[in-house]
């Protein structure tokens, strides 16, 4: 507060004042990180202590150390974790890629063609109203216990997210920019490539964001409901023998998995959106 005051009253010292917010921002960021670490550490330690001292039932709330031990065991001793992870990853990637491609294409088409959108809107609304998870048993009947039914569920979830976001993005293209491109003699394809798609990128990217989690959800729920491999299957097995440690361990692995995928999307987003103004310095 003091430094912003200084900057206002002494504009000639602008250069010196400009350095100050940067230093303060770094300090601020460290403060956030430390606070986060304290909260997490406190929570885990409290949980660990409560579990060891018997304040909470270890059977239902196993200690963090036990859970992490189990994860480590899966990863190293029997190594079975990697096979399951591979299966879930494959299902996730497939349903993600197919869903995004389908949803984006559909979104662009309906976004550009008013007729198609007017015709198809009600059908899409009705289909979107179906709770997707309930389709899992049907897909199992149709496509069996293997990869097919898992990808089908993930695809069904992802395509709607991708569709709605892309559609919105295409619809929000600035009409002045569009008119200008047409005046510069852009063909329909050029409009798509140079105007519609880039303009919808931030929407499409935000759909990637949500879709990553959705694709994992589709794969895992489907595995959970019936399969012979994958993280969902692993959790279902642990649950079957009332092994809370196993269930929690599965959830931990799953969370890490999603966080890693999310970080990848984050990097992609930053590469594709270089043209956007950086968030302002004092946005914290």
């Amino acid at each position: 507060m003091l430094s912003s005051n200084d900057a206002a009253t002494a504009p000639l010292e602008g250069i010196a004042a400009a350095a100050a917010p940067a230093r303060r921002a770094m300090g601020y960021r460290t403060r956030v990180a430390v606070t986060q670490a304290v909260i997490l550490g406190g929570f885990l330690l409290g949980w660990e202590a409560a579990s060891r001292l018997g304040w909470i039932d270890r059977f239902f709330f196993p200690a963090p150390s036990a859970i992490l031990g189990r994860v480590a065991g899966w990863a190293t001793e029997d190594g079975s974790l990697w096979a399951d992870l591979g299966v879930t990853l494959l299902e996730t990637v497939l349903s993600f890629a197919l869903g995004i491609t389908g949803g984006t294409a559909l979104g662009i088409w309906l976004g550009i063609s008013r007729f198609a959108s007017d015709v198809l809107q009600p059908f899409i609304k009705v289909m979107n109203a179906i709770p997707r998870v309930l389709l899992a048993p049907i897909y199992t009947i149709w496509f069996g216990l293997g990869l097919g039914s898992k990808v089908a569920l993930g695809f069904t979830i992802v395509i709607f997210v991708a569709f709605f976001n892309t559609f919105q993005g295409v619809r929000e293209v600035n009409p002045v920019v569009l008119a200008n491109a047409r005046l510069l003699k852009a063909s329909r394809f050029a409009l798509l490539r140079h105007v519609y798609l880039p303009s919808a990128t931030s929407w499409i990217l935000s759909s990637l964001r949500v879709s990553v989690g959705m694709a994992v959800l589709g794969a895992v729920v489907s595995e959970y409901l019936g399969s012979s491999a994958g993280l969902g299957h692993r959790i279902a097995q642990a649950e079957g023998v009332m092994d809370a440690v196993g269930v929690f361990a599965g959830i931990v692995v799953l969370s890490v998995f999603v966080v890693v995928l999310d970080a990848l999307v984050d990097r992609l987003e930053r590469r594709l959106l270089v043209w956007r103004p950086a968030p302002s310095m004092d946005a914290h």
């Binding site: 600035n174 002045v176 920019v177 008119a179 200008n180 491109a181 047409r182 005046l183 510069l184 003699k185 852009a186 063909s187 050029a190 140079h194 105007v195 880039p198 303009s199 990128t201 270089v274 043209w275 956007r276 103004p277």
Partner: protein, 262 residues
């Protein structure tokens, strides 16, 4: 006159409707080849609408629009239009924005960029080729838009209040750049402005429109000031003052009418 040249743009009794609202009642306008015409009029009188008609974005409800003597159908292929609102692509760099029209018309990317860089230099933006739009000031963005329009070398240039949002000094600079470019390579130019001074300093002829609705042309004043002109020195000369009074006698009443309607 011994030989009647075909005007590059001719509007005859053009009317424009927005639904049941008649924005332009009956507009007449003739722009000769390589003539610089400024159009002034009270705000909301239909100046932008007229340019939209000339470029084919909006069709006339009545009357005739002739481009080099031929009735206009669809978009006007001879015109380059610098829109009033910002229309640059924020996800492209300055050079790619300027190169856009060339890319759209089938030129190779590298050739288009090369020519775009030359145009950026012409409007005083050498060194800013790789900037994105948010990294440029308002005046710099206007210059990019100007280069984007002019690189296509249209035979008819339409500019809609291109400098009105700029501060006085930047506006002077832009006017000088525009005059230099036009002086070097004369094209027909329709220049919309609400700034009388700007109109006099730049144009060969100033056309005054009446207040809307159903606006029309109320008069035109030729500007015989010698060229090349010095935009900053002109405004103090007697000839300039005289022209200013002449145009204001037409425009002043219309401006008052436009307030009375509101």
């Amino acid at each position: 006159m011994p030989q009647q040249e075909t005007p590059s743009v001719e509007l005859r009794n053009v009317a424009v409707q927005f639904g049941s609202y008649t924005a332009v009642g009956s507009m007449d306008l003739v722009v000769k080849d390589s003539e610089f015409v400024a159009v002034v009029g009270p705000t909301g009188c239909g100046k932008s609408t007229i340019l939209n008609v000339v470029t084919g974005l909006k069709s006339a409800a009545a009357g005739e629009v002739l481009v080099f003597g031929k009735p206009l159908t669809g978009l006007n292929g001879e015109s380059g239009y610098m829109l009033q609102q910002e229309a640059l692509l924020p996800w492209k760099t300055a050079e790619d924005n300027v190169a856009l029209g060339l890319v759209f018309t089938g030129h190779g990317r590298e050739e288009a960029r090369e020519r775009a860089r030359r145009w950026l230099a012409k409007v005083g933006l050498a060194g800013f080729e790789k900037r994105f739009m948010h990294q440029l000031s308002g005046g710099q963005r206007k210059r990019v838009a100007m280069a984007q329009t002019l690189i296509m070398e249209p035979r008819i240039v339409l500019m809609d209040e291109p400098f009105s949002a700029l501060d006085v000094h930047t506006r002077r600079l832009m006017q000088r750049i525009l005059l230099d470019l036009w002086q070097a390579d004369r094209r027909s130019l329709i220049f919309i402005t609400h700034d009388l001074e700007e109109a006099i300093v730049l144009a060969d002829r100033v056309v005054v429109m009446s207040a809307g609705p159903a606006s029309r042309m109320v008069g035109e004043v030729p500007i015989p000031l010698p060229r090349p002109r010095d935009v900053s020195a002109l405004a103090t000369t007697d000839a300039y003052m005289d022209l200013y009074r002449q145009i204001w006698s037409l425009l002043g009443a219309e401006v008052e009418k436009s307030y009375a309607v509101q």
